[in-house]
């Protein structure tokens, strides 16, 4: 039993080669991480995505793939795209609120300018 296999090779029940594409990003002490991406993307697709990237970007790519897979498992209908939709709505609400408050500031400033016209000139 080879205890130095990465989580991917353990899951796939195969030998873990020294140049395994998954090993740096799916350590054996976190088997769920690979299980998530395998369920949603499949090991082959994950391998292709990582292979096509420079080595310096692969860790970040593995993290975002894991996150998206986890979101998809939690929400099988909307996944990560659901969060994007919610954020767009929050952005619209915040923009409307800001426009309203800025209009209020402008109105108060106008009122304030009208009030400060000195009356003792009359």
């Amino acid at each position: 039993m080879n205890s130095s296999r990465c989580a991917a090779c353990k899951h796939l029940r195969r030998r873990c080669p020294s140049d395994c594409i998954f090993a740096p990003y799916f350590p054996s002490n976190n088997p769920r991480r690979f299980a998530y991406v395998h369920k949603i993307y499949g090991a082959s697709n994950v391998g292709k995505i990582l292979q096509d990237l420079p080595v310096s970007c692969r860790a970040q790519a593995a993290d975002t793939l894991c996150y998206e897979a986890y979101c998809r498992i939690k929400d099988p209908v909307y996944g990560c795209a659901g969060m994007v939709s919610v954020l767009h709505q929050q952005l619209n609400v915040a923009e409307c609120q800001l426009a309203t408050v800025k209009a209020e500031v402008a109105a108060i400033r106008n009122d304030s300018a009208a009030l400060t016209v000195p009356t003792w000139f009359d």
């Binding site: 970007c57 790519a61 909307y78 990560c80 952005l91």
Partner: protein, 170 residues
């Protein structure tokens, strides 16, 4: 399904017969082959099929739309995918909320100024309440300090080019 009906985009790409109960055909019509191609490239046809089969019929349309969105995001940005858009939008929302707080503080400031002007007539050379005035001035200046602190723009850690706001479900 009659002989004249063309196979759906998925069965065309997978080069197989399009069955009457094909799980893909309601969502991947033959006139839009790119839609299935991109989902197949990122997720794989087998995984998409399993995901759809685990959902009730009325939710499958939305699921396909979100899968297409995520697949497109991953193709555009192979490193960050959809997560890049989430990070960018969260940053935008935070900035707007900060601007909102500043604008609301500005209203309070102006209202306090107006109250002070109404309480004090313009010419009061011998003001006996100088101590009280100092207190209200102190509160006003601390509010102004808050305004100048809150309005300093923070550096953005924008990960990539901003994404256009686009409709997800059309």
């Amino acid at each position: 399904m009659g002989g004249g009906t063309s196979p759906c985009a998925s069965c065309k790409l997978l080069r197989r017969r399009c069955a009457k109960d094909c799980v893909f055909s309601p969502y991947f019509p033959p006139d839009d082959p790119h839609k299935f191609a991109i989902v197949h490239k990122v997720f794989g046809a087998s995984n998409v099929s399993k995901m759809l089969q685990e959902l009730p019929f009325h939710q499958r349309g939305d699921a396909v739309s979100s899968l297409v969105y995520e697949a497109n995001a991953r193709m555009r940005d192979p490193v960050y995918g959809c997560v890049g858009a989430i990070s960018y939008l969260q940053n935008q929302v935070s900035q707007l909320q900060m601007q909102l707080a500043v604008a609301q503080a500005e209203i309070l400031c102006i209202q306090m100024q107006q109250e002070q002007q109404q309480q004090q007539p313009p010419f009061m050379p011998n003001n006996n309440d100088s101590a009280q005035d100092e207190k209200s001035l102190v509160n006003f200046s601390s509010l102004q300090q808050y305004l100048s602190f809150a309005s300093t723009s923070s550096t953005n850690n924008v990960m990539q080019d901003p994404l256009k706001r686009e409709s997800l479900w059309t």
